[in-house]
Symmetry: C2
Subunit: 203 residues, 2 copies
């Protein structure tokens, strides 16, 4: 079993998580490159200098947020691709929609900082997304429709799917409750069109 960590380390991790949560909240209406160290510590209710005990800079806080935000997405991605039956696409889109409803701030953060002003964070997101894309590719390879596909083409298709998921998620965030159904419908049709292209890709 896992090593029970002492009171001290537990408290440290709790504070660290408070930093992550506070930052995620503040980042709903600004980008990481404008997030101030003091701003975060103020939100946590702790002295500015305490920040340095956990992160060298706000950029590193951002990298930690990438891990957290994209870690929770692994499950969704897996479920999305492995969904079976003729309702596969609807299921996948519904899964995304649910995840957006549960972790809106995570999605916002990733969508924003994917092209954001902080190099280190951009790199971290790119790396994680590449990992996702590869996972999707191996999942796609299992499907019977993928017979005869080259690894390159599978990777291309996987990337298309991943980008589409992220875009759909981001669109859902910006949509008002009554617009969300519309967003879901369009996203579904997009996925369906891609699926059609997939069926007739070879030959």
């Amino acid at each position: 079993m896992s090593h029970t960590l002492g009171v001290r380390q537990a408290q440290k991790q709790r504070t660290r998580q408070a930093f992550l949560d506070a930052a995620l909240g503040l980042l709903e209406e600004q980008s990481l490159s404008s997030l101030g160290l003091r701003e975060v510590t103020r939100a946590v209710g702790v002295a500015p200098t305490a920040f340095y005990r956990h992160f060298p800079s706000t950029a590193d806080l951002g990298v930690a947020l990438v891990e957290e935000a994209l870690g929770s997405l692994h499950v969704v991605i897996a479920g999305t691709v492995s969904a079976a039956g003729d309702e596969r696409i609807e299921r996948a889109v519904a899964l995304i929609a649910r995840h957006v409803r549960e972790y809106p701030a995570h999605i916002r953060f990733i969508a924003r900082e994917r092209n954001g002003g902080v190099q280190k964070v951009r790199a971290a997101i790119a790396e994680q997304l590449a990992r996702f894309t590869d996972e999707v590719r191996t999942a796609l390879a299992q499907h019977p429709e993928s017979a005869g596909w080259s690894d390159d083409d599978l990777l291309m298709l996987a990337g298309l799917y991943v980008d589409q998921m992220l875009m759909t998620a981001s669109n859902l965030l910006d949509a008002s409750p009554e617009e969300q159904e519309q967003v879901i419908r369009v996203a579904t049709r997009r996925m369906r069109l891609i699926a059609v292209g997939r069926q007739h890709w070879l030959g």
Copy 2:
């Protein structure tokens, strides 16, 4: 002919353009929400207060940049869709690549602020992109392949194309010179797959 504007207004417009240029430069490695007013005026070589003669806030500077950046894209979009022949896709991707090479900062700015932290700018970009999508839709409607398509489906396809263009452009920015060919190849295959889906969409 157009009204020749006086020395005074000409100088004002020149300064305004200097603001836009300086901001665009500074925004290559940070986001708009962290761009300071003083920072811009310093780069232009002008007193901080002069800023207010041109823009109420940096957010409005951002909106002006959206007009400039996306205005130059209209031509490219038009050329992209109206390109004919069986090399249509290659031509389209090449046009995008050229535009990225000519105006990298514009692309960076749009890709970054599309999901950025400044609401007003996000809205401006969304509006312009919606306009683009509509232009692409009417252009697509002319193609013989679009016979029997509903307006809704055409709009869906147009959106897919526009998003794909932007993503390709953004990917080109992040790619080293030797990676760019690879990016172009993948983007081309993505477009081709979408085109295949388009051909077999009906029925």
